[in-house]
Every structure is written in C-alpha cells, then in structure tokens.
C-alpha cells in the first residue's frame, strides 16, 4: 500500500487547497461532500444560512446493525463507520452548524423490527441500517408508514425497490445493491478467466433471501456472458459451523467458477474448510462480499487460495490513499477504532449512509434557509450526489445507491495483518446497474448473448 503523499499522487488536489475549501478543517475534509454542497466555505462556519431558524437540539439517530457473532464481523464495521462520520460531523459543529447527532446503536440480530419501532417511539429523526436484506424487507414498509427517513447501510436485496417497496419516499439505500455487485463479479469472472473457459458454475451462498437473490442474479448474468451450466447450488445457514458437504460437492463437480456471497465470519469458516479440502485446486472462487472478512480471515487460510472478491463501493486502495488525503485520513482513523483491522466496504456502508443523509440535510438547509422536514430531505436525497473518502456517490431517483465497484484477487498482507485486494479492476455503475425504472431481471434479459 502507498504510504506517502506526493504532488504527483494528489493529482492537483493539494492538501492545503482541499482543507481551505472546507474551512480549514481536516475533519470536515473527510465529509467533503457536505461542505461542497454549501455555497462557499464560510457557510460551514456560520452553521448554514438559516441562523436562528435551526434549533440547537441534538438530532436523535438510530443505527440497526449486527454487533455480535459471525455477522458482527461485518456489522461492527458499519457501526464504526457510522460512529466516525457522526463524530466528524459533531466536531465540525453538527448539522447546520448547530445540531449535533446522538447515535443509538442496537443489535439487529434479535427482533430487528421491534428495535426499529422502538427507535420510532423514541422520536428518532433518522434511522440508519440495517445490514441484513431480510431485516430490510421487514422495515422498509414500516419506514414508508412512519415517514421517517431511513438510509440503509446494506440490506441490498435487488427486489427491495422493485417489489417490496416499489414506490419509496422515505426509504433510501446508500450501498451498491445485489445486482451491481453480482454483475461486477460475473464481469470479473469473464475478465479473469475468459468467457470461453467458463462452462460450469457452482454456488455457495447464505441460506436466506440475500444469498438466493445473489445466486439467481449471478446465474442470469453469467449465462448471458457465457454458455455456463450451473452444476451445484448450496445454501448454508448464517453462522454454519460446517460447510464440508458443500465443499465436497464442489470438489465432485470441479466447476470452472464457484460463486459465493457468504459474508462476515462465514467467509472465514468457508475459506478455511475449503482450503483444508483442497477445493481451490478444483475451482476459482468469485465472491461479492468475501472481502467483508478482510480483518478476520487468517493468513494461513488464504495461502494457496484462488479468490477474487468484490468490494461493493469501497476499497481503501482505490482511490489510492496517496491520491486523496481524506481517504488516507479515514483509513488511518478507522484502523485506530476498536474492532477494525482494516475498513471494508461495510465500514463505508455506515460512514456513507450517515454522510448521504447529512449532506442532503445540509443541501436542504442551504436551499431553504431553515431546517427541512422529512419530506424535504427525502426530495433532496433523490438523485443526491456527494463525496466520501471512497469517492463520489449517487443515490439515484429510484432510491438505490450507485457508485463504482471494485474487484480483485484476495491475498493476505503480512504487513497490514489483514487481507487486501490485489490487481484491482474498477467497474462503473453504468456497467453494473440497470437504469432507474428498469428491473434488474429485465435489464439482464435485455443483454445480448
């Protein structure tokens, strides 16, 4: 990893110039989008243009995420990301320069709908999360009913805004969603192996809506890109301690490609047991969220593996930390937090969800001159573009997040003490996401073979 910043690396965006543009605050620089939405640097110092129109009451916010167990490997990343974003906003004076954010975090694991409703009863003005697609499908209709904005960190099932909540007003998603990361990995498989060399495909995916959705989309995408036949599909439950049967089945079939959307601690279990069963001698693994276990999977488990992993919309190596100082600052700050070996895409889920909402509120304050209503914030969030240390993001008019995605070989970095991606390819949102208003399935169907 590049550790130093040079004039060449910065690509013309000097640190002094960048900090000047956001009022001289390195902290604010990490929320660059928040500041660039203001008319000039002074506005941030003045707390927006509304003066006394904005109360100084703290904003009560809630985050649903997994804080324990195997899913906690991923959920704690989202929590730490959200916490750092809130900390930086508060240190910069709060929303509109006056309203600090108080963030409550609850574990998503048990009765997440009850936890969400508790947030609403407590008067939360915004909620973030959840991680699980199953939870997201439960709470999204409630979000619409309660008319309190939710910006999900993950909950990436493709059908959410196609079927569950087809015409959302208050429910938004920061993260690149299933079809985007799956198409990224289908393209990555063709890029790495070649379409002519992919004739058989297997899958090991989590045994619930997310995993089933990802395998269905991957099958559809890879069969448009190649003539591949699906020879095995396995769906272990979340937190499964034994994946030997799925691995044995893959060894039996020796597929050219094995697709996996396992995540969190399940990745570690799968990779360790697959390695012990010599599975990587029989197949190449492409996984959308395997990199979510970057800080958890041990070096010996990754040795000799052949895994290409996606990274939704964030990989700390791109933009290279040397090229953009906020990325470097976020990477260093994240690593100092408890439970974060390296920040992953899910760290950016938490950070980005808070930033998406905060920058939209700032934009609305700038436009209105007063603190916006839930409906006004929702209107601004539609089509909202903003920066984070992971680059530029957009929440499209269909409420889906849409950003660049990354894929590369997953290797263990002894110096870093964690996994990283090597030889990374970048895929633009236009390559991986259907246009707004077109369902993922129809979009994939429209591909020419």
């Amino acid at each position: 990893m590049e550790q130093t910043t040079t004039d060449h690396d910065t690509g013309g965006i000097g640190r002094r110039k960048l900090l000047s543009a956001v009022g001289g605050s390195a902290v604010a620089a990490a929320l660059a989008g928040c500041s660039t939405l203001l008319s000039d640097g002074e506005a941030a110092d003045q707390g927006g243009q509304s003066g006394g129109e904005i109360s100084d009451e703290p904003i009560q916010a809630g985050l649903l995420t997994f804080t324990r167990g195997a899913p906690g490997v991923l959920g704690i990343q989202a929590q730490r990301g959200a916490e750092l974003a809130v900390q930086r906003i508060n240190e910069a004076g709060g929303i509109g320069g006056q309203r600090e954010i108080e963030l409550d975090v609850v574990n998503e694991g048990s009765n997440p709908l009850d936890s969400y409703n508790q947030f609403i009863e407590e008067g939360k003005e915004v909620t973030f999360g959840p991680i699980s697609s199953g939870t997201h499908s439960q709470i999204a209709p409630e979000v619409e009913k309660n008319e309190i904005i939710n910006v999900s960190t993950d909950g990436t099932v493709t059908t959410l805004y196609e079927e569950t909540v087809p015409d959302p007003t208050y429910s938004f998603r920061f993260q690149n969603y299933d079809i985007m990361e799956v198409v990224t990995m289908a393209r990555e498989a063709v890029e790495r192996i070649g379409a002519d060399n992919i004739s058989t495909v297997a899958g090991v995916n989590p045994g619930y809506s997310f995993g089933e959705d990802e395998m269905r989309v991957f099958t559809q995408a890879i069969q448009k890109l190649t003539d591949a036949e699906v020879v095995y599909e396995g769906f272990p439950e979340l937190g499964a301690s034994d994946m030997a049967n799925h691995i044995t089945s893959i060894n039996n079939e020796e597929p050219d490609v094995t697709f996996s959307s396992l995540w969190g601690g399940d990745v570690t279990t799968f990779v360790r047991q697959a390695n012990a069963n010599d599975m990587f001698e029989n197949t190449t693994v492409f996984g959308t969220t395997l990199y979510s276990a970057a800080g958890d999977v041990p070096g010996d488990a990754l040795a000799g593996t052949d895994i290409y992993s996606g990274s939704r919309n964030y990989y700390w190596g791109l933009p290279a930390p040397g090229n953009w100082q906020p990325g470097r600052e976020l990477f260093d700050a994240a690593r100092q937090q408890d439970g974060v070996t390296v920040p992953t895409a899910h760290y950016m889920s938490g950070y980005g969800a808070v930033t998406a909402w905060a920058t939209a509120v700032e934009k609305a304050i700038d436009l209105l001159g007063t603190y916006p209503t839930q409906e006004q914030i929702a209107q601004v969030l539609e089509g909202h573009g903003f920066f984070t240390p992971a680059g530029y993001h957009n929440i499209a008019e269909d409420h889906q997040g849409a950003s660049n995605s990354f894929a590369g070989q997953m290797v263990y970095d002894d110096d870093l003490g964690a996994a990283r991606l090597e030889d990374v390819n970048t895929y633009a949102a236009t390559e991986t996401a259907p246009p707004p208003g077109v369902t993922g399935s129809d979009w994939l169907d429209s591909w020419s073979a």
């Binding site: 396995g234 044995t248 089945s249 039996n252 079939e253 279990t269 012990a276 041990p298």
Partner: protein, 314 residues
C-alpha cells in the same frame, strides 16, 4: 448432480464426523436425563463454554510447546498437545457442572419438572451473559490447530482428498464412545451410576450416596459438553449463539435413540449426521427438516425411541 463413489464416501465421512460431534454433546445430555431425570436446557451453553475455553487453552498450550514441529515426533507432540488441551478444557467444565448440580439443581429434584426446565433455562441465560462478559460480543477463533493437523497427509495415503482434522474428530469420537461404554459397563462407578438409574431407592438402600452420584453425573455431562466444544471449535469460530443448534439437534438425537439411552444417542447421532449430510447433497432445502422427519417417523413407529430407556444396558 452425479455423485461419484469418492464423493459419496467423503459425504458419508462428513456425516459420520458431524455425528460424532453430535454424540459427544448428546451423550452428556442423555446421561443427565437418564440418571437425574433432568432435561438440561443449559447443555448447549456448556458446549459453547467449552469452545470458548478451548480457544484460550489451545493458545496457552501451543504457546508453551511452540509451533507444530516437523517429522513424526514433532507431529505426534503437537497432536498430544491438542489432545491435552481438549482434556484440560473438559476438566475445566467439571467444577462448573459440579457447581450447577450442587447449588441449583439439588434444591428442586422433588419438584415438578417444569421447575427444572425454568431453572436450566435460567442457567442457559446466565451462561450466555457470562460468555459475553468474559469474551465479548464478537466471535473468536483458534487458528493454529485446524491448519496444523490438516497438514498431516493421512487421507492421501489411501488416495482420498479429506481433511485430516475430520479424521481426528472421528478417531477421538470413537475413543469417547468406547470409553463411555467401557466406563458404564466395566467400572464399579459406572455400575453404581447405572444401578442408581434403574432403581434409585434400592441403590440408596445398599449404601449408594445418590447426592454424590448425581453430582458426578452432572459433572460428567458438563465434561462431555466441554470436550465436544473443544473438538468442534477449530474449524469454525466460537460465537455467543453457537449453543442453540447443537442443543436442538441433541434433543432430536436422544428422542430418536430413546430418552436416556447412551446406545440410542450413539445410533441417533450417526443417523442424524449421515442423513443430514446426504440431504445437503441431494436435496439441500431438506437439511433442516430431515432430522425432525426421522424423529417424527420413529416416534410414530416406536414411541419409546430406538433403544428405550437407559439402565439395564448402556
């Protein structure tokens, strides 16, 4: 999906391996049920406690002997160290079991069974919080054991691609099975325990201290749960929720085998392990339902389970 003979053999071995883990858990549950007439809902948490404890014990013992050495001697030393860590872990669970029986369960033997269920459920919750207090929310793992044992090329000797750690589990599980049957069939203590199970009053009349037997049996159950946790944890992680599924499957196993029958628990565990393994291969959605379907079928045909109540024979 065409299944080759080799894949069929490996899937069956996977099932046997899982069955042995299940037996190690279910044996403790069934021994406590057979003698004390207590359905211990906290048994899964004792298994989980064993897994958490083992990670620390593995770390300590491997730290003392160093990384696995090369050659036959180095390998043997490492495996002996792992076995020692498993036994130390199980031994740590002995006083936990003793404490539970002596302080809590002993007070309510004469009461309705619902009190036992409530009490053991309370112990389950307490153990859950104890684990959270000591080890935190996040999952934890031991790295060295699984990869080091897999580095030993046992299965390749017969031309098979199979992890050595699974072979290790099957061998250790076999020793546990033989050891348990030997203990209850051949030793004086084992016979006293069985006699107490068959006729508690008669055992008391001939001078057996049922208090001691009960404490010993509960401690033995905790020992077996801890042993199973230590053996099961290297390929995966220890998590707060890990006790739930094994507990449920153990209930299924002991119902299939016959409540309180050790032999039944063994047969039931292998049956559940192998059928689950094949179900994952042939019809994955049936993985969860299959053990319950077998249980329902056996309850219909033979309501007392395959081997009925334990006591006359182990």
């Amino acid at each position: 999906m065409a299944v080759t003979p080799t894949a069929a053999l490996v899937q069956t071995l996977n099932g046997i391996q899982f069955g042995f883990i299940l037996f190690m858990i279910a044996s403790g549950l069934t021994v406590i049920l057979g003698i004390l007439d207590v359905l211990n809902l906290a048994h899964g948490e004792l298994f989980s406690l064993g897994a958490y404890t083992a990670i620390g014990v593995f770390g300590f013992i491997i730290g003392v002997i160093g990384p696995p050495g090369g050659g036959v001697v180095g390998t043997a030393v490492f495996i002996l160290a792992v076995l020692a860590a498993v036994l130390v872990t199980a031994a740590i669970l002995l006083p936990v079991g003793t404490l539970f029986e002596a302080v809590f369960l002993r007070q309510i033997y004469d009461r309705d069974q619902v009190y036992q269920l409530v009490l053991t459920f309370a112990l389950l919750l307490i153990l859950l919080d104890v684990k959270k207090f000591i080890w935190g929310d996040s999952s934890i793992r031991t790295d060295a054991v699984y990869s080091a044992i897999n580095a030993i090329p046992t299965s390749e000797l017969v031309g098979l691609n199979y992890p050595t750690y699974n072979v290790f589990v099957i061998l250790v599980g076999s020793v546990v099975v033989v050891g348990l049957f030997w203990f209850f069939e051949r030793t004086k203590t084992g016979r006293i325990i069985r006699a107490t199970a068959i006729d508690r009053e008669m055992a008391t009349a001939i001078g057996v201290s049922t208090d001691r037997v009960f404490t010993l049996v509960f401690a033995l159950g905790a020992f077996l749960a801890g042993f199973a946790g230590a053996v099961a944890v290297p390929p995966t992680s220890a998590t707060l929720e890990m006790g739930t599924n094994p507990l449920v499957l153990s209930f299924v196993v002991i119902v299939i085998g016959g409540l309180g029958s050790l032999r039944g628990a063994f047969v039931g565990a292998l049956l559940v392990g192998i059928i689950r393994s094949w179900m994952i291969t042939l019809y994955p959605p049936g993985e969860i339902a299959a053990p319950f379907a077998i249980m329902a079928l056996i309850l219909l045909v033979k309501p007392e389970g395959l081997f009925g109540t334990w006591g006359e024979t182990a």
